[in-house]
C-alpha cells in the first residue's frame, strides 16, 4: 500500500488535492483494517479483530503503570511472547523433553511463576541416605530447562505398577538448581530402601 501523503502544497486547489485526499483516506482505512475493524466496518469499528505481533530484536523496556506484550525470538529462532511489567519481563515459555525414561515439561506462566512436571525412573544401588537430582539431569542437560531462581515446593511421589514398597521424601530444596530426596520402605520403620528402581512423578513450583 502507498505511504501516507502528508504534504499538501498551499497552492493546490481542492480539486487538485482531492485525489491525494481520497488516496490517504483509502490508505488509512486499509491499514486500519489490518488487525482492526476498519473505519467503515458496520460494527466494532476501532476494535481489534486480532493482534499479530511482529518479532522484535529485543525485549522492550517496561515503564511505570504499563504492561507491554512483545514477541522476541530466542537465539535459535523460537518465538516467545513476553509480558513486560514495569522492570520485569516474563516470557511465556513451554519446554518439553522426553527421552531415556524421562518425560519433563517446564512451563513459565505470564505471571513469571515456573511449574515443572517430570516423570522419571529413580534408581540407586545400596542404601543411600539421600540422592540429589539436578534439574539439568531431567531436562536434556538443561537445554530444555527453565531454571529456577527461587524454588518454593517440590512434591515427589512413587508410581508403582507392581510392589510399591517405597515412600519418597524431599529433604532439601534450598538450591534452586536441584532437589534432594530420600527413599524409605513404607512398611518398615526406619528402614531405608535398598537397591531400588522405581518410577516417580515430580511437581515443582518456583520462579
Amino acid at each position: 500500500m502507498p505511504d501516507l501523503i502528508t504534504e499538501f502544497p498551499r497552492s493546490q486547489t481542492l480539486a487538485e488535492a482531492q485525489p491525494d485526499l481520497d488516496e490517504n483516506f483509502n490508505t488509512i482505512n486499509d491499514i486500519w483494517g489490518i488487525n482492526h475493524f476498519n473505519l467503515i466496518a458496520a460494527m466494532n469499528s476501532g476494535k481489534h479483530s486480532q493482534v499479530d505481533l511482529l518479532t522484535q530484536a529485543a525485549v522492550p523496556t517496561g515503564v511505570q503503570d504499563e504492561i507491554i506484550l512483545a514477541n522476541v525470538p530466542d537465539a535459535i529462532g523460537n518465538l516467545i511472547m513476553y509480558f513486560v511489567k514495569q522492570a520485569s519481563a516474563a516470557p511465556m515459555l513451554v519446554k518439553r523433553y522426553s527421552a531415556g525414561g524421562i518425560s519433563s515439561t517446564c512451563l513459565k506462566l505470564p505471571s513469571g511463576i515456573i511449574i515443572k512436571a517430570v516423570s522419571v525412573g529413580l534408581a540407586a544401588a545400596g542404601t543411600p541416605t539421600s540422592l540429589t537430582i539436578p534439574w539439568s539431569h531431567l531436562t536434556n542437560g538443561g537445554t530444555q530447562d527453565i531454571p529456577f531462581t527461587n524454588q518454593y515446593i517440590v512434591m515427589i511421589v512413587p508410581l508403582g505398577a507392581d510392589d510399591i514398597n517405597s515412600v519418597l521424601y524431599v529433604t532439601d530444596i534450598s538450591n534452586p538448581a536441584q532437589f534432594t530426596f530420600t527413599a524409605w520402605q513404607r512398611a518398615a520403620f526406619n528402614t531405608p530402601l535398598s537397591d531400588f528402581s522405581i518410577a516417580s512423578t515430580i511437581v515443582a513450583i518456583g520462579s
Binding site: 500500500m1 499479530d52 505481533l53 504492561i67 506462566l109 505470564p110 511463576i113 518454593y152 515446593i153 529433604t171
Partner: protein, 201 residues
Amino acid sequence: MAYNPTIAGTDRIKNSRPQIQTNFQDIESWTAVDHAVFGAPFEGKHEQVTFPVNTPAAPNPGEIKLWCDNYAPTAQPELFFGNGTSGLAFPLTAALGNANGYTFLPGGLLLKWGSQAQAVTTGGPFIYTFNAAVPFTQIYSAWAVVAATNNPATDVNAVAYITSVGVPAQLTYRIWRRNLFNTPGTNQQPYTVFFLAVGAS
C-alpha cells in the same frame, strides 16, 4: 498541533490545508505507536501492544478484552483477561512468588502452594491456611505431601492425608504413621508438608 476533527465547512482549501496536513501527520504518528507504520513491511500489524493503566467497561458478550489495571493484592498494574460471554475476568500476570504463594493460570484458574512445618504430637487434624490475599471461591483439587526438610537425616515415618477442603483458604489434614495401621503419627519429628491446590478465584 493536535488533530482537528472539526475543519469548518466554509473554509477555503488554502485556509484548511494546514489543518488537513496536520491531521494526516497526527494519524501517521498515532499509527506508529505500537504498529508497523504506513509503507513499512507488515504495515498495520503490531510491533508490540502497550496497555497503560485503565479501567474499561466490561467486555460485551462474544468479545474478549485485555486491559491493564491496578491490582490491590500485588500493588502493581496487572494485565487482565475478560470474557464477555462467561463474565470471567482475572489478572493474567498476577502472582505472589514466595514459599506460600499463588499464581493465576491463563484459563483463569488459581494455583496456590505452600509449606508448613508441623510438629506431630497428636496426629492432627491440622490446618494449613493458604495465602489469603486472593481467596479461592472453590477448590477443585488439593494435595498434601510430607517432605523432610526439617529432619533430612532421619527416617520420615509419616504420610499426610487431606481430610477436608475449605474455602476460601484452608486445608485440614492429618499425619499418620506409614508403617502402622490406623495409627496417628504421634511423637514424631517435625515434618515439612508441601501443599498444592487448584481452584477458582
